[in-house]
Symmetry: C2
Subunit: 333 residues, 2 copies
DNA sequence: CTGTTAGCGCCTTCAG
DNA sequence: CTGAAGGCGCTAACAG
């Protein structure tokens, strides 16, 4: 049924070894033979079995990509980047969606290892350091993206969350806002913690005390952002500005503001992490942290391929700088 | 290094055949043995090699998913659904992004076949019927999603685009709009063509003639929607309403309207295909076609698994009904 | 430069 | 009910 390397060898009048060499582009094959083989391949429409190859070399040319939320445009862009560089280097990508569940994440890691993937790119769901330490010890090429894995010597590419949050919150302060709320993701993802830290530092630097009442943390999902924001807005002493720490939280927060019949920025100012394409719709008072998502994915893929090629390279931690975009410059309160 | 089925067999004092049977959950194994095997597996922390298995049975338990644009939330939701049902049935998903390129699509199909995938789910980039006919003839389980493949007896799950477009455009007409423009995707994707047809029918049914000047077609991307809309808005006799035929086109169109300093619906009314989560932001005059995206992905995956199990089942064409959502009821001009 | 050969880890007849 | 043995398609020594 399927045409094998043997068929090609026969047709070209050579051994399977030679065919294999030609396919792999190895040197030391007479041109005459090479051509005969190439012809045979063409005529037979031969396609090597990647499965057989994987079994033989004990490694597939697949790289596993585990992201924590495929509905988040942030990751969507990462996926694209990873796919682009992988494809260009002869790898394919197996995408898995851990859905912010540590269990799913672990299960996917096992699955991908069972598939003999060459390496893993993961946006870790939690500070579950163990699982990663084990991978590193087992010499499995793996790089963390977006979220940091503490105390584990592995490649990672993350954004400078502290700095970005600091800047964006400072911008709100500079525009006269004082009661600034924070709607954040859970602090056990490094991003949540770091964005909080930037927020706190900005307030401190400007002599404002953090009001715990104004800080909300939850799953980085729109429902959570919605709920938190409603609560904030219904406070005795509501915030005059809101800082959201993630794409999806932003959507939920904006919806809540809308439902309350309030306007941005007249009633509440707004600053958000992660830019989305439609944000021009709320532009009058939007300060946004735009992350180089494609670049992050690209870098992660490159690090991974690099490590696959040279497992002994020391781990690298790449810190990418987000950009602060102010849609309408300094709009005083 | 890796622990094989042989190691397990040895440890349990049985043959590899028995171990294999136990793993496959086959009957005819004495309970005593079964338990010993299970224990050995546990103790050795044995994980079967999916690669070796794939080679042996000439089929991997991967299903390939090729979508035309991973940045489009429509597909994002489909991916999620496919992954959910696949995982639950013991399959994994290999995701590929054809990026609206027929060449990439073809290349990915080849790649996936080389990986011996059990089946394919594809949102076809064009009316490239040949490639699909060949797959069907080769008995490769494949189902088309979102976009139709003409004259090819294969499974597909699509939305009722004609009807939905008809309704949504009719709604604009009912609200007093007459010069209704259409910003659509290329007509060689069935969705583009069908949505145009619904648009045309709606106009005809209400005695309005189609003005070719008001119909724009291009890649289903935001840049294209942006460009088309700018052109429309700068016409001598500009439209009083715009109908967009896709998620990304909608974003581009709204941006164009915004840039021109116009408002929705006071200056131009708006109706769009495919709902997005943030649409509440423009709600005053938004009529939206909401597709059951998750359901579509789920159905596609189910059809595929079904066909994998029974390749002879006659092809099925599932037509899912979109929902028309009117954010604010009949707002007269 | 080229061919021979021995598996990679698993499943599946075919005999017991 | 259980074991022995033969590949699946390919690559990587090892000999020529």
């Amino acid at each position: 049924m399927t045409v094998t390397i043997e068929d090609v060898a026969q047709r070209a009048g050579v051994s399977t070894a030679t065919v294999s060499r030609v396919i792999a582009g190895k040197p030391y094959v007479r041109d005459a033979l090479r051509i005969r083989v190439l012809d045979a391949i063409q005529e037979l429409n031969y396609r090597p079995s990647r499965v057989a190859r994987s079994l033989r070399v004990q490694r597939s040319s697949i790289i596993g990509l585990i992201i924590s939320d495929i509905q988040n445009p942030f990751f969507t862009s990462v996926v694209r980047a990873v796919e682009d560089v992988a494809q260009q280097r002869g790898f394919s990508v197996m995408l898995c969606n851990s859905d912010e569940s540590t269990d799913k994440e672990a299960a996917y890691i096992d699955l991908l290892l069972d598939e003999q993937v060459s390496g893993l790119i993961v946006s870790p769901t939690s500070t579950n350091t163990d699982i990663y330490r084990r991978l590193v010890e087992a010499n499995v090429p793996v790089v963390a993206i977006d979220r940091r894995v503490e105390n584990t010597p592995m490649d990672m590419v993350v954004g400078d969350n502290v700095q970005a949050a600091y800047e964006v919150v400072s911008h709100l302060i500079a525009n006269g806002y004082r009661r600034i709320a924070a709607v954040l993701g859970v602090p056990d993802a490094s991003t949540g913690a770091e964005r909080y830290e930037g927020y706190e530092r900005a307030l401190n630097a400007h002599g404002i005390e953090v009001d715990p009442e104004l800080v909300r943390q939850g799953m980085p999902r729109s429902e959570s952002g919605h709920r938190s924001t409603l609560q904030l807005l219904q406070l005795q002493n509501p915030p005059d500005a809101i800082f959201t720490g993630n794409n999806l939280l932003t959507i939920g927060a904006l919806r809540a503001i809308d439902e309350m019949g309030l306007r941005v920025p007249e009633d509440v100012a707004f600053a958000a992490f992660d830019e989305m394409e439609w944000m021009f719709l709320v532009k009058p008072a939007l300060t946004v942290v735009a992350q180089p998502t494609y670049a992050m994915g690209k870098k992660a893929a490159e690090l991974l391929l690099q490590r696959i090629a040279d497992p002994s390279r020391p781990p690298q931690e790449v810190l990418l700088q987000p950009t602060i975009k102010v849609h309408e410059s300094s709009r005083a309160k």
